[in-house]
């Protein structure tokens, strides 16, 4: 189950010692606001004092705790030249990071800056738009069990992407963000913060990748989405880290009045991946659609934890997480819907579907509800099964070979999620990525 590559967690800080933190602070450029440096110091203290998860932690039930070793990584990996990966979709802007450093910033739609759209590195934004960043940067609570890793992220966060779309502005093409971990032992802390003002509209496509599948790496990323009143935000993240990487991605979404957020996370890479996704529906009319697709093969573990919090009446959330499991892979889906006492007329849905494609794979499902208001419509469902033999038979009876039939049915399994995307281009790009993973 646990890979021999991971050392057992021996200390609370591993490679992320006080010296490593001092070195990280020293590497930051001058001129960063003092509140930010203070927060980083406080975060490091928190990280160092919090214990690593243990087997009895409910938030880590079924997780491979032994795979969470913090040793053997470089907290400030050397600069490297970034590879170029094309996602095959049109973009309005493109930011590329390698080992935490911005390597390129291309604004492809010249109208953006004139309309006040900010697409910049977090470093620049901290200096130029300090108040705006301060209001939103890592401002949401850590409620899904990774407070220690959230603190680690904040302490060692060197740079990331900051996107702000002002009131009423609509960005036509998505913004692309590429984050790479390069070299053996690299620890990276990718960060994306999207703030959409009132009635603004923006899409973000993010890609995470490594130099090669042989590199042992550690990624602790965060991506926070904030949708102001009436805003529309779509987000698609494709995680394709090295197959020897330990990855934690902490995602938070805040949805204000009449705003809509759609997020899709595609999980392909990593040795062990934990993904936490928190959606907070804070005002009437808010809607959050949470989608995820995982293709788990080899000995991969995907540990997906979600929380839908309905904090106001007349809010809606809809979650669909699908996992396909091959070989000896493991998946964990743990989802919770919380309806606060006053959040009447909540409409919440949560669904986890596991497709078993191997006799050695293991799927764990923990779909949960905590409801404290009575006028609600909340349902959840979880199924785990193989390909429907009747459908397989139908295709075979039409002359399609079994292997091809299974492949078609597996892709069909994912189509239900991909069909939710408004962009055909993105739909096609994601389908290609999934098929590529299947074919090797």
């Amino acid at each position: 189950m646990s890979s021999a590559l991971s050392p057992t967690p021996t200390s609370r800080v591993g490679s992320f010692t006080a010296e490593a933190f001092q070195a990280h602070l020293a590497s930051l450029p001058p001129g960063l606001p003092s509140w930010w440096l203070e927060r980083k110091r406080a975060a490091y203290e928190r990280f160092a004092s919090l214990p690593l998860p243990v087997r009895t932690d409910e938030a880590w039930r079924f997780s491979n705790i032994a795979g969470l070793g913090l040793d053997g990584f470089s907290a400030s990996p050397a600069r490297q030249k970034a590879p170029t990966v094309s996602m095959g979709i049109r973009k309005s802007a493109r930011l590329t990071f390698a080992n935490g450093t911005l390597v390129s910033r291309e604004i492809l739609d010249p109208k953006l800056e004139a309309r006040g759209v900010i697409i910049d590195s977090l470093r620049n934004a901290l200096v130029r738009h300090g108040d705006l960043v301060r209001e939103h940067l890592l401002a949401q609570p850590s409620r899904l069990g990774s407070a220690k890793f959230a603190a680690l992220h904040e302490a060692f966060l060197a740079d990331g992407a900051f996107i702000h779309v002002p009131k009423g502005v609509e960005v036509e093409e998505p913004v692309g963000i590429f984050s790479y971990a390069l070299g053996d032992g690299a620890a990276v802390f990718p960060h994306t913060l999207v703030v959409a003002g009132e009635n603004a509209r923006v899409g973000v496509v993010e890609y995470f990748g490594s130099g090669s599948d042989e590199e042992t790496q550690f990624a602790v990323g965060a991506n926070d989405l904030y949708a102001g009143h009436g805003a529309q935000v779509t987000y698609a993240g494709k995680q394709d880290w090295s197959h020897r990487a330990l990855s934690l991605q902490l995602n938070s979404t805040v949805v204000r009045r009449d705003a809509r957020v759609q997020s899709l996370h595609l999980h392909l890479g990593g040795r062990q991946t934990r993904h936490e996704s928190l959606s907070q529906l804070q005002a009437p009319g808010a809607f959050s659609e949470m989608l995820s697709l995982s293709v788990a093969h080899g000995e991969q573990e995907f540990d997906l934890r979600t929380l839908q919090v309905h904090q106001a009446p007349d809010t809606k959330s809809d979650l669909l997480y699908k996992n396909a499991l091959l070989d000896r892979a493991r998946t964990i889906f743990s989802g919770l819907i919380i309806v606060d006492p006053d959040a009447q007329r909540t409409d919440a849905y949560q669904s986890n579907r596991n497709l078993m494609l191997s006799d050695d794979a293991e799927a764990n499902s923990l779909p949960g509800l905590e409801i404290q208001a009575n006028d609600v419509r909340c349902t959840h469902g979880a199924t785990t099964s193989r390909i429907d033999p009747e459908q397989e038979f139908y295709l075979q009876s039409r002359g399609i070979a079994k292997q091809q039939a299974d492949e078609l049915l597996t892709f069909g399994f994912f189509e239900e999620v991909l069909n939710r995307l408004a962009s055909d281009e993105l739909h096609a790009a994601l389908r290609n990525l999934i098929q590529t993973k299947f074919k090797h």
Partner: protein, 475 residues
Amino acid sequence: MAEPDQEEAQRAAIEVDRSKGDFKYEENYAFDAGVGLTPATVDYIAKVKGEEEWIREFRQKALKIFESLPMPTHWATTDLDNIKFDDIRYYLAKGQKPVRTWEEVPDDVKQTFERLGIPESERKFLAGVEAQFDSEAVYSRMKDELEKLGVIFCGPTEGLRDHPEIFRKYFGKVIPAGDNKFAALNSAVFSGGSFIYVPKGVKVAQPLQAYFRINAENFGQFERTLIIADEGAEVTYMEGCTAPKFETATLHSAVVELVALKGAKIQYVTVQNWSANVFNLVTKRGMAEEDAEVRWIDCNIGSRLTMKYPGVVLKGRKARGEVISIALANDGQHQDTGAKMIHAADETTSNIVAKSISVGQGRSTYRGVVHIPKRLKGCKNNTECDALLINTNSRTDTYPAITVRGDRNYVQHEASVSKVNEEMIFYMQQRGLTEGQAMSLAVNGFINDLARQFPMEYSVELKRLIDLEMEGSVG
């Protein structure tokens, strides 16, 4: 709101029921282990009961486990911390031996059971009655023909003393002392309960029945039940529980083990209506061999906190397990119930249907485990949990955990939360029902398909209890 007359009549009808368990008699116990729990308490119980040395050792070992295990508050409610183990009496008895005829039962005890309505139900339906008053069974009776068939129905002391060749093999095997903190506690201080053996091929047509009752304040009741259905045997067991109200909280912590050998069927029915100060922390598990079936029908209406997740270990090929669960949580109550299905053989199937109703500030929780850990084939589980919330502040939670390995099994889980349909209530009110009556009818409709699975007198009782609990919940 209801018309005053109607309301009065309803209340009158209800108050008779309400007082049913709300009385007690003087306590004068010949054997009393005192308050608190030490190795000496455990020795005292073993000595009073005249148990063999291995049982005493089993108890002492369990006590050590109980002391070493933490409270499970990392996942369960912190209300558990309000149990004062040092203030509880762990054993009380009047020195009575189980007697066989109703006439021999002491008058005050008889009065208690008279009020609980046992003799009538016995005359009507029951094949055997085992009533537990505090720690020991005082009245035990079975129809002669069952005895002739070789059916054994006694308490744990008699079972382990008189039939060790039958009971010792399975005692503490389905639920070992170390299973959880409260199973360990029960294993240390158990007294009373039912030990039942149904021989090969014997199908007991009438249900066997037991009533449990807590009479003394600060008393913990720790009954222990072991039911063995030999190959091809069939039996239904029913238990009902009540307790009078006391100022301080009381603890009930039972262990129930069921063993269904090849082709056997066991059905275990519970209607739990402890008073609202009882901590009801019960471990129930059945083991089903090849082609066997274990079915739990579990209804929780009373208690302050119930934590109970009846389980089935599906050990033999084609074994079947089922849990039908109804929970009703009113103000100050937390019904934390659910089911566990452990699939350990090919082609085993399990079904869980749970419905809960939360009234006022009541909280109901479904917690479940479905485990298909090995590379099995043809296993199936179906789980359905539905929650009904009556008032704006009512609360419900659902926490299932499902593990499946391999691609030859099929598991599905569905849960929903809703409130009573307003149009339905409006329709009924328009036809002349009061809001309270309409609500009762709607709630009874919600659980109707499950209530029908209860034996008739229990389903009638259940309906009445629900009417009672729903009264005053609206408006």
